[in-house]
């Protein structure tokens, strides 16, 4: 149980949903909106898994248990950039990427629904390779003198890659307005966190690159929001990068292609079940009177309906035309690509 609480771990709500630290400044509406996104993440993930089981979608990485990741987006402004991988779907959606873009991607289509305005890069598959992009975005923001920040997120496994470390180093040297976030969910497929590094905390990487670092209870959405808000504010003020390690837990399989019973001790899941980030936030909202059980049910239904709308929109979409791929290699297809497209179409006919 490497993720046990520790003095260093910043917490706002304990796992009973009781206030255990200083609350971030959030209005009641913001709190409810945050909870709604968490519900969205849970329902969306379950729906994706179901679609995959029905053969209507390709391999999907469930985010169950990591819904506090929505707070990686809630602390951001529209012009801030968000960069993550397959496990960051929830903050990607919350940052403004339409659910349809995710559905397209997992359907195996070339996405048509990305927009520059969400300031969010597509999901990264090569672990940690997105992190230098986030640093580069932050360097560009600084170069242009803009008051924005970039957030780059990866998993605990990805922190072992050279690119993760080079990112911290570039961010430190250039004092880039970047927040580097690690969603430490205890596992990299079947490889437990202790095999990734002998350090006590991944956050211990920070000082070696001159980057202030923080460990936060990653199942406590309010704590994550608070830490992120602080780090983002410092970056915005020109005070440079930070490293945030979220202690969370992957409650599901790695992906729909994975069978965690092969490697995961049952007690571990039992330990984490009551620490479910959704439960905790719901208990808090219920206790504060910001949510009733009925409202909660209604919210679940509304979210499911919203997702169904996106799924229906996907079903109504024409599948990707093979020829579209030829348009996306270069701005102008090379003579070779033009000829190859024509040749493929001939055969297709």
């Amino acid at each position: 149980m490497q993720n046990q609480l520790d003095d260093r771990i910043i917490q706002v709500l304990n796992h009973e949903g009781e206030v255990a630290g200083e609350l971030p400044e959030l209005s009641d509406d913001e709190l409810r909106a945050m909870y709604r996104w968490m519900v969205f993440g849970r329902v969306f993930s379950d729906r994706m898994v179901a679609l995959q089981r029905q053969g209507r979608s390709n391999t999907f990485a469930p985010l169950t248990g990591q819904e506090a990741s929505v707070a990686l987006a809630t602390a951001l402004q529209p012009d801030d950039w968000f960069v993550g991988s397959y496990r960051e779907i929830l903050p990607i959606l919350a940052k403004g990427v339409p659910p349809l873009a995710m559905l397209e991607t997992y359907k195996g289509y070339i996405p048509t629904q990305y927009s520059r305005e969400a300031h969010t890069l597509p999901i990264q598959i090569v672990l940690a390779a997105q992190m230098p992009h986030a640093a580069g975005l932050a360097m560009a923001i600084k170069y242009e003198g803009k008051p924005h920040v970039a957030v780059g997120v990866c998993g605990d496994g990805a922190t072992s890659e050279g690119d993760f470390n080079e990112t911290l180093n570039f961010a430190g040297v250039f004092k880039a307005p970047l927040v580097v976030v690690v969603q430490n969910n205890g596992w990299a497929i079947s490889v437990p966190r202790r095999v990734q590094t002998a350090a006590s905390f991944i956050a211990d990487r920070g000082p070696g690159f001159g980057v202030p670092s923080f460990v936060v209870d990653g199942n406590d959405v309010l704590a994550v929001h608070k830490v992120m808000a602080d780090c983002v504010a410092r970056a915005r003020a020109g005070d440079g990068p930070s490293l945030v390690e979220m202690m969370t837990y992957r409650m599901g399989a790695h992906t729909t292609a994975d069978d965690p019973t092969k490697y995961r001790p049952e007690e571990e899941l039992a330990y984490w079940k009551p620490r479910d980030p959704l439960l905790r936030m719901r208990m808090y909202l219920l206790s504060k009177g910001l949510l009733s059980n009925t409202e909660d049910e209604q919210m679940h239904e509304a979210v499911a309906a919203e997702i169904q709308t996106a799924v229906s929109a996907l079903d109504a979409m024409p599948p990707t035309e093979p020829s579209r791929l030829f348009e996306l290699v270069y701005e102008t297809p090379t003579p070779q690509l033009v000829a190859q497209r024509a040749a493929l179409q001939d055969i297709g006919d």
């Binding site: 390709n58 289509y109 070339i110 092969k262 093979p322 791929l325 996306l328």
Partner: protein
Amino acid sequence: MPKWTMVQALNNALELELEQDERVLIFGEDVGLNGGVFRVTDGLQAKFGERRVFDTPLAESGIIGTAVGMAVYGLRPVPEIQFAGFSFVSFNQIASQATKMRLRSGGVFTVPLVIRAPFGGGVRTPELHGDSVEAFYMHMQGIKVVIPSNPYDAKGLLHAAIADPDPVLFLEHMKLYRSIRQDVPAERYEVALGKAAVAQEGSDITVISYGAMLHVALQAAELIAKEDGASVEVVDLRTISPLDEATIAASVSKTGRAVVVNEAPRAGGVAAEVIAVINEQCLYSLLKPVARVTCPDTPFPVPSIEDAFVPTAVRIAAAIRETLKP
């Protein structure tokens, strides 16, 4: 003889190697308790312990770089890269380290290292899992590149690769992992590196391929035999580097016509090198231009459109027909 899939044949080869040679080590991401994401190393940690078969931190350059050190020391590391596309993260350790130590040390230090990695289209994987990367490694000096097309060869080539005193990149096409069962001897045997096989004899035209495409080429050959009555010779390269130029030249000299098929993109691919070899060794036998059937020069397509890109029996048959024209 047991009827095994390629996964079983590979698993058996690794088991025999671990049994017979204390110097053999297997490591990488998820190869231990989990037995590899395709179960190629299934059961090996249970049998040989964490000392011999172990998970590493998630860092391909570190995996190959430490394997180089182990190989220099005298061990026989057999690391796995979870998908061949991720070998790019370790490109420098392969291109400039594993392959250069022999020269750098004047022959004193050598790197007997086998890098295993799955790849290939047709199985609807996410971005960069399906890419065929062999041409990048074919242009590298000091490494051999192997791509088996069936369980029997897979086992024999893997034994030969582990016995080889130099680095070998051993690429396993995901589509072949479980789609073919074959009689595979349970004991150790080698299929020599650097030797192509004539998968089917024929007299009118030669189709040269390897890996999953070999089977598509065989389908096309059947189609042509049935519909056009022509006799197609099909060559399975098996080793991509070094190419078996003699087998290529012998076949094309005989048939006078050739189609080369690879799943990778066209520009600078294996097919180009095969064509250059044919040009050099048997141009005068050539009755028609050699046809190339490959993926186009695009990134590997997203799953929903894969089938329109990866060479099909119909596309290969069309190229054969074109090349058969007088």
